[in-house]
């Protein structure tokens, strides 16, 4: 038994060493050669936000009538950016690092984990910017900010699960790459980021709003915005869907997604080196 514990320790020690080094390398390489370097982590979502703000808030007049809508838009953009980046890059990571897999034996889930962790670092920087801007944009910080941490963990778990699942499939079917792009786009529009959820309800699609809120990504993003920015104005699944048990669906499905990702990945990962 003790031997088993030691072996497990040894195994994860190796994984951790590789993980740290890969995250570090990815981070270094990410802004390699660009003039502003890591500043792009901050600038990119801000510029994206500026575009969206101009188009949707100023021009199309999307708003839920609360003063927190702009900062909520920025926050949503950053969170969505993380989800789409980590799943997209995570999906391709196994194929992209095929050179490593074919030459050396190491726990290959580390590749996916380190890629998603790279996006996580960007998200952390972005959220810093969001919090800073929030102080000027009517954000109401309460003790609930602490609840953001488990939500971020949940978001990471969903992304990792999806990345592991797609990454395994992508090794065998490159079609997944194209399909996922479309799915991501669809999911983006199905998530109340550029528009407030109240807009959907106001137009008589109350049921649709409820279904949308039950998507694990939407639920997480709304939870984070709710707890971080404004517990008063931003709705969550709990305020939209009245049935307590139904509200648990997104939380449970997050765990299911992660489990499924790990399960599929473990099943096929031994063959990756040969297929690539």
């Amino acid at each position: 038994m003790k031997q088993l514990v030691n072996r497990l320790q040894a195994r994860y020690h190796y994984a951790l060493v590789v993980f740290k080094e890969l995250v570090k390398t990815n981070f270094k390489l990410r802004y390699q050669g660009s003039f502003l370097g890591v500043l792009w982590s901050v600038l990119q979502p801000l510029m994206l936000f500026a575009v969206m703000y101009m188009v949707f808030v100023k021009f199309l007049k999307f708003s839920d009538g609360t003063p927190t809508f702009p900062i909520s838009l920025l926050c949503g953009t950053c969170l969505w950016q993380f989800f789409s980046e980590s799943t997209g890059m995570g999906m391709r990571s196994i194929v992209d690092r095929g050179d490593l897999l074919r030459k050396i034996h190491f726990p290959n889930y580390i590749i996916v984990a380190s890629t998603t962790m790279g996006s996580m670092i960007s998200l952390a920087i972005n959220l810093g910017v969001v919090i800073l801007f929030g102080t000027f944009a009517h954000a109401h910080y309460t003790w609930r900010v602490l609840l953001v941490i488990p939500s971020i963990v949940q978001l990471y778990a969903i992304s990792l699960g999806v990345a592991l699942l797609l990454g395994s499939l992508y090794v065998y079917f490159r079609d997944i790459g194209h399909i996922w792009e479309v799915v991501l786009q669809a999911m983006f529009y199905a998530t109340p980021i550029i528009y407030p959820i109240s807009m959907v309800v106001d137009r008589g699609f109350g049921w649709a709003a409820k279904v949308m809120m039950l998507m694990p990504t939407t639920q997480t993003i709304m939870d984070i915005r709710h707890n971080l920015l404004s517990p008063e104005y931003i709705p969550t699944v709990w305020t939209t869907v009245n049935n307590k048990w139904l509200c648990l669906i997104p939380y449970v499905s997050s765990i299911v997604i992660l489990w499924l990702g790990i399960h599929v990945f473990r099943k096929y990962s031994a063959k990756f080196a040969e297929v690539l």
């Binding site: 074919r102 050396i104 034996h105 065998y172 079609d175």
Partner: protein, 419 residues
């Protein structure tokens, strides 16, 4: 059940611990018959009930043991499965059958500089490469200076790798490989890197590690010199099976023989009726040089061989035999117009070549058939036929103690000092 059917008999009375045990390992690959890396093809194949791939058996029932401190060689021709075996040992591939047991830290070098990134500096690459091999930052810190010294790249470590010359990159990679403090080192054809000075360094390193009882090295190579020099044991793999196991000299010699044979076999052309292979013609439909016994020569007795020819014209003719040195290059010996033949028709002439003057090496005997229309004038000769690669005789000289850098050995020629 394990050790019983291991071919390696020398290992049975070895008391050193077994660090690598390969038992009944078999591996096959699924080769897609049509491009199946798409949803469409996968779906179509599924609806048609086609498997969409063929199975290729790369390894069948491989068994061997490596003991601590061994310098173990794996040789085999291209495509024999040795790289696959190496990947299975390194746990990159999973065998379909059998199992591999490894004790200790195995450091694989299927390719040098795995994970090297041109955008990172030399230093960062060393740490990254080290991490992939399973070393923590502290462990690499400890061996970092050794690595840099061995690679002789002290001034370049903070330069990006893309600014290195290819030789420098390989040197760095190789230094990481051999300075990495693993217990079992797996090396795939990496001996031929760097300039001469670096080669000599590697040579010293291998000789040194050979005498270190705690380090085990598994080496895959085509160089029989390396096998004979460093290895204590070796296996020869052919078509996914172990053909020879144990003594390194047997393995090296057998490997040379395999290469001689296959060079012949692979070239057997398919010729239709009325066509003649290169060098032969209607006038001389047959001309071939054959060894009397094995083309692998281990004694210095004269080497006996036959020349089979068919020539029916009533003209004076002769055979020219030429010995070529396939390793060092050049013509070793030529019979000129000495071998006049009298028998016409389909004949076999037997010759003997004395071997006491030349050192070990790979040689080829070619034959030519020439006619001499005017017997008094040698210059009037005309070449009618010659043996091409397939009909010449390749033989390997492997007399113990007869190695030499030069062609002639000491009994044939010796420089005398006169002052």
């Amino acid at each position: 059940m394990s050790g019983n059917n291991t071919i390696d008999t020398a290992a049975t009375n070895d008391t050193r611990p077994v660090v690598l045990k390969v038992e009944h390992v078999a591996k096959y690959f699924r080769l897609p018959t049509e491009q199946a890396t798409g949803l469409k093809m996968a779906f179509l194949n599924w609806t048609r009930g086609i498997k969409g791939y063929t199975e290729q058996h790369v390894l069948r029932d491989i068994n061997f043991e490596v003991h601590q401190g061994d310098f173990f060689g794996i040789v085999g021709r291209n495509g024999s499965g040795k790289s696959t075996l190496l990947k299975i040992i390194s746990q990159i591939y999973k065998p379909e059958q059998g199992k591999v047991t490894v004790k200790g830290k195995l450091v694989p070098f299927i390719e040098l500089g795995v994970g090297f990134n041109p955008e990172l500096t030399g230093r960062e690459n060393v740490y990254l490469n080290g991490a992939l091999l399973g070393f923590t930052r502290e462990e690499i810190d400890a061996m970092y200076n050794d690595i840099v010294d061995f690679a002789e790249l002290g001034d370049f470590m903070d330069q990006k790798l893309k600014n290195y010359s290819s030789g420098m990159q390989v040197r760095l990679a190789f230094s990481v490989a051999i300075k990495a403090q693993g217990d079992i080192l797996v090396l795939d054809e990496v001996l031929a890197v760097g300039d001469e000075a670096f080669q000599r360094k590697c040579d010293n390193f291998f000789s040194q590690i050979k005498h270190d009882p705690s380090k085990t090295v598994i080496l895959v190579t085509h160089s029989m010199d390396a096998v004979k020099k460093y290895c204590d044991k070796a296996i020869l793999i052919k078509d996914g099976e172990i053909v020879v196991s144990g003594n390194k000299n047997d393995v090296a010699d057998q490997y040379t023989l395999e290469n001689l044979k296959s060079a012949k076999k692979s070239q057997e052309e398919q010729l239709s009726e009325g066509q003649y292979p290169a060098g032969l013609s209607e006038r001389v439909p047959k001309l071939e040089v054959r060894a009397d016994s094995s083309p692998l020569v281990k004694t210095s007795d004269p080497f006996r061989f036959h020349v089979e020819y068919e020539f029916n014209e009533k003209v004076a003719f002769y055979l020219i035999l030429t010995v070529l040195d396939m390793q060092r290059g050049g013509i070793v010996y030529d019979t000129a117009a000495e071998l006049q033949q009298t028998k016409h028709g389909h004949q076999t002439a037997t010759f003997e070549l004395p071997l006491n003057a030349i050192c070990n090496g790979n040689y080829r005997i070619t034959a030519q058939l020439r006619i001499l229309p005017d017997p008094d004038n040698v210059k009037s000769n005309q070449q009618l036929a010659y043996t091409d690669e397939n009909r010449s005789l390749d033989f390997a000289l492997r007399i113990p103690g007869n190695n030499g850098y030069a062609l002639l050995n000491k009994s044939a020629m010796r420089v005398a000092q006169v002052n």
